[in-house]
Amino acid sequence: MSERAPRLLELADDELVLGWHESEWTGIAPTLEEDVAFSSIAQNEIGHARAAYELAAADLGTDADALAFDRRPEEYRCAPLVELRLLDWAHAIARRWLYEEADAVRIAALKADTDPELAGLAAKIDREEAYHRMHAAMWHERLRHEPRFREAVEELWPYAVALLPQELRPELAARTGLALPSDTLLQGKERGEHTPQLAELWDEMTSVRRSAPAGARW
């Protein structure tokens, strides 16, 4: 495996699994206007995943769809934050906000990478994420005094921290104004560990693709 492939897969798997979960909100968000907005964000995340998979696939001699669908659940490198299936708006929008905050820190670091392709991809993603951050901030501003939303942020905060490598975590804490959680709170939430929801999602997302043998066309 090339040196950058694991990093690309971390990014791509995060965006894919998050986008996949969030796409489930299409048609059932709190307002129809938000349906359209939230769905576009989910589509963008999947678009980012595809771009990162394509770059990784060129190194690994495969293609983006194979990376997205044809690995075993334990081979995915996504963080537990994105694996949770959150079908209530307080949690869904709290994760959206926390993810964008964490992703901003990660993307900033990737933009400064010495690998020009990686830095270029990060810059491209960042231009779209700027709009996602605006959307997340708008919701955060609207709901930050709502008990349901605050509880959801509190619950998901350790997951968001665990999405980033150690060295980037203080920056996330500074951005959000939240205190870094203790190691105990991070247990089971670190990248490399998986929640049961990932296997459930994988089962569903690959079910059509697995239903037909080689020679099938989609």
Partner: protein, 95 residues
């Protein structure tokens, strides 16, 4: 002329969408209407006007379309090759 700017949208025929036509400056909405009527309707070229304070308009000009959006559009699909193949398989291809 000083005073706030009012953007003027005009409708040429009933049932048509309103289109931006220009703007007037006026001390208030009443003056804006009086002057816009003359400027954009004195030849009977409009059936209706919408007069909107410029500060009420929120422009959006930046789009973060960094990645492929063609999957949402008709020009993102090319079915020619597959259609030909399907017709051949079905024996319905024009010989």
């Amino acid at each position: 002329m000083n005073g706030p700017v009012f953007e003027v949208f005009r409708q040429e025929r009933r049932g048509q969408p309103f289109e931006h036509a220009g703007s007037v400056t006026a001390p208030d909405a009443e003056f804006a209407e009086a002057w816009a009527r003359e400027q954009y309707g004195r030849r009977g070229e409009s059936v209706a006007l919408w007069i909107v304070p410029r500060e009420a308009i929120r422009p959006v000009t930046e789009w973060a379309d960094e990645f492929d959006l063609k999957y949402r559009r008709v020009d993102g699909y090319s079915i020619k090759t597959r259609l030909k193949e399907a017709r051949e398989r079905a024996g319905t291809a024009a010989s």
